[in-house]
């Protein structure tokens, strides 16, 4: 099960896409109207003899497959086959042969961690790499290329607002804190499955940058371009397979248009494979600027704090300012039990008023959940990520070349990420106008619908025949 985070590898993926014994999805057989032959029976009754229908190969859409619980195909096979670069190639080919009026608009949104991973492989600078990738995807038939950092601005702002609200309620509602980050689908899916209704109320409802991008592309941008969501094929480039599971969630499916907000997730290693398959030398491509509509700017940006989004960082600073009138620039993180478990506190008049933690990797998630269950968690916010060292070390990032260890590569990527110019969501005009023009304000129904998500406890699939001994 390569490509997925360690957290999802340790759980049973089949419980998310609950396969059972046989596919029970009724396959629609096209009724072809044709010449019926009437046979007169001996007793005068007549029976229409239908022309023997020629059966087409049964096809099930990904939607139907994932929504149903009747398939023997394992979850992994479904996800990896239906949401892979092979699927992307198929869609591109199909699109190329369509009439202009029938063509889909193909959008590619790239995450900074995936870009940096590919940049390191080909010894390119971050922007150079992003632009050469843009060039490559456009060559294949994509129309617009964005990066996901603009979307992340919205995700961060929403997380800040949610935290402030919850902090103010903490004395009346003991279950409102600690607030747990929601950007990592490895963590969220694991939580839904293993700890269900106990842990879900603690998790932030804010969507991850990938899914905010889904909303931006299929709602805001689509409307501006006069397109409906089903006329757009939205591909994201991500550092792990867990993001494929996230994109396939029910919550991110538009019923009206039968369209996903993110249609296909391809990963860093898959881009590497695509370049090899197409015999393309990325370094030789001429750079093509990313499209401005939904990208962070003319250059790739970062957010201060962790390279997995900087959630704890931005929320801490905002809370310190809004709740305690403290202006903080830099956070002093203390490493606790291991490198992937850190904390930072704010003391005002000798009292600890804010206590945040970073908990990355399965062992730290285990400890965090067990502490919560025993009511012994001292934290107000925890940035939880499934992968040790965070997204730069995602399950589907490009493997290090021989001679360099994984640790060394991640350290290199960290440095590369930290040297990207920092985004300042609070001052960004485009972000502010998203709220005023598209969403109708910070607390609107639209904001809740389009920037937030819902969670559901997943039942363990106890099908004896499905157990792998």
């Amino acid at each position: 099960m390569s490509g997925f985070s360690g957290v999802l590898k340790l759980t049973d993926l089949d419980d998310f896409i609950a396969p059972s014994q046989e596919c029970i999805k009724p396959v629609k057989v096209e009724q072809k109207s044709g010449r019926g032959v009437i046979r007169i029976e001996n007793d005068g009754a007549d029976a229409a003899m239908a022309v023997q229908p020629k059966y087409e190969k049964a096809k099930i859409t990904l939607n139907d497959c994932l929504a149903c619980s009747g398939c023997i195909t394992s979850a992994e096979v479904v996800l990896v086959n239906q949401q892979s670069h092979d699927e992307f190639y198929r869609v591109l080919a199909e699109n190329n042969s369509r009439e202009i009026s029938e063509k889909l608009t193909i959008i590619v949104s790239m995450s900074p961690q995936a870009v940096l991973s590919i940049a390191a492989k080909y010894s390119l600078g971050a922007d150079e790499c992003a632009q050469k990738l843009a060039s490559y995807f456009k060559r294949l038939g994509a129309h617009y290329i964005f990066d996901t950092n603009f979307a992340r601005n919205l995700s961060l702002l929403e997380a800040e607002r949610e935290f402030l609200k919850r902090y103010k309620e903490k004395d009346s509602d003991p279950k409102t804190l600690p607030m747990l980050a929601s950007a990592c689908p490895g963590w969220v899916c694991y939580a839904e499955k293993t700890h269900g209704s106990f842990i879900l109320p603690y998790i932030s409802t804010v969507r991850s940058p990938q899914q905010v991008m889904g909303s931006l592309v299929k709602d805001l941008w689509a409307t501006q371009k006069g397109l409906t969501p089903d006329k757009i094929y939205h591909v994201t480039v991500m550092p792990c397979f867990d993001k494929k599971l996230e994109a396939a969630r029910e919550d991110f499916y538009n019923e009206t248009f039968s369209a996903r907000e993110v249609d296909c997730v391809i990963t860093s290693v898959e881009v590497e494979q695509m370049l090899v398959r197409d015999e393309v030398e990325l370094v030789t491509l001429s750079p093509c600027c990313l499209d401005g509509d939904l990208s962070s700017g003319s250059q790739l940006t970062s957010h201060p704090g962790s390279s997995s989004g900087g959630y704890a960082h931005s929320i801490f600073i905002k809370a310190a300012k809004e709740l305690f009138n403290q202006e903080i620039d830099d956070l002093q993180w203390k490493i606790l039990r291991n490198n992937d478990f850190r904390e930072v506190i704010l003391e005002v008049n000798g009292e600890t008023v804010l206590r945040f933690a970073l908990a990355y990797g399965f062992r730290n998630i285990q400890n965090l959940v067990q502490k919560l269950k025993r009511g012994k968690s001292p934290y107000h916010y925890i940035e939880v990520m499934a992968c040790p060292s965070g997204c730069l070390n995602g399950g589907a990032q490009v493997r290090p070349e021989s001679g360099i260890s994984s640790k060394e590569l991640v350290a290199q990527l960290e440095e590369a990420y930290q040297s990207l110019p920092a985004s300042r969501p609070h001052d960004d005009q485009r972000v502010l106008s998203c709220y005023s023009e598209w969403l109708g304000g910070h607390d609107s129904e639209k904001t809740r619908q389009v920037l937030h998500a819902k969670y559901k406890a997943v039942e363990k699939n106890v099908n004896a025949l499905g157990i792998k001994w």
Binding site: G6, T11, R337, R363, Q366, Q370, W469
Partner: protein
């Protein structure tokens, strides 16, 4: 000689595992009836002093005592491990370790008493650290094997952990930098490795398998005089002996006596066998003799054997037949 000195009955279903406390005064057993029983000698008879039956909701697969003798850990198919405080008459469950995805197969304590290891059908090996106030925290969750992990055992002195699996391998783990990691994989068995045991010094490891053989592995440290290469300065383990042709069925457990050096095996052919290294054996190609076979030691598969840590020749065995037997083999040493 071939008869048990005591037969302990009471379990209502198969007994999976037996373990002696460090002093050798209490025998603990566990099984499919979800219970844990503690047995000790009263006069000449062995009696069941305690039955712990409410804590697990499924088969208890394995029990292990902490080196101090004050704490007992029990691993269950209900995916949890319970920690019992045994200092008082009244044994209490003071902690429950949760997190494994499914059946926990084995639990083991490190020599320091500060670490605990568990393994499961979920293919992973976990290391836990004992914090204050009966708090147990996950130090590492390793997806070590590609199949069900049957047994974990710590080195007698160092913080080195061995695990045996349905994937036919034994893996050795240790802490490196920030986390635990596999530093050596022992391949050679043709089928599931059911159990493993270190010898008293920790320089050798015995493994028993569904392939009906016992293998003895030896550690070669960097700079060893035999000239065995140790890439990247890590110790290398080589198989120095394979005992085949003795067992008729899968071998389920092995115990390596710290007092006599004898190896006891328990088998699916209902027998118990005792092996010992020939004196003056070549240390790099040791020869082990079969000293004794107890045919029909039990009426069914013998799931577990364990040497008493303080009384020479005293062996306990547990079986699918629901009984536990005690044997006195002191005469052969």
């Amino acid at each position: 000689m071939s008869t048990a000195i005591a037969t302990l009955t009471g379990h209502k279903d198969r007994v999976w595992n037996v373990a002696w406390n460090p002093k050798g005064t209490v025998l603990t057993s566990c099984g499919s009836d979800h219970s844990i029983r503690l047995w000790s000698k009263e006069g000449d008879a062995w009696v069941c002093k305690t039955v712990l039956s409410e804590a697990h909701t499924r088969t208890v697969r394995s029990v292990a005592w902490s080196p101090s003798g004050s704490t007992l850990a029990s691993a269950s198919f209900d995916a949890t491990v319970n920690i019992w405080d045994c200092r008082e008459e009244n044994i209490e469950c003071v902690a429950t370790l949760e997190g494994h995805e499914n059946e926990v197969k084995s639990v083991a304590w490190a020599a320091s008493g500060a670490l605990l290891a568990t393994c499961s059908r979920d293919k992973s090996v976990w290391v836990w650290e004992v914090a204050e106030d009966d708090e147990y925290e996950c130090a590492s969750c390793m997806p070590s094997h590609s199949q069900d992990v049957k047994k974990v055992v710590f080195h007698p002195t160092a913080d080195i952990l061995a695990s045996a699996s349905y994937d036919n391998t034994v893996k050795l783990h240790r802490e490196e930098c920030d986390d635990w990691t596999v530093f050596c994989t022992l391949t050679g068995h043709q089928s599931t490795v059911w159990s493993i045991a270190f010898n008293v010094s920790g320089h050798r490891l015995a493994s028993v398998s569904d392939d009906r053989t016992v293998k003895v592995w030896q550690e070669y440290l960097p700079g060893n005089k035999e000239g065995v290469a140790t890439p990247e300065g890590a110790p290398v383990w080589k198989c120095v002996c394979t005992l085949s042709g003795f067992h008729q069925r899968a071998i389920y457990d092995v115990s390596w006596c710290s007092l006599t050096g004898a190896i006891a095996t328990s088998c699916g052919d209902d027998c118990i066998r005792i092996f010992k290294e020939q004196p003056n054996s070549d240390p790099n190609a040791p020869v082990f003799d079969l000293l004794l076979t107890i045919p029909q030691a039990h009426a069914e598969d013998v799931n577990s054997v364990t040497w008493n840590p303080t009384v020479v020749g005293l062996l306990a065995s547990a079986s699918d037949d629901g009984s536990i037997k005690l044997w006195d083999f002191s005469h052969i040493f």
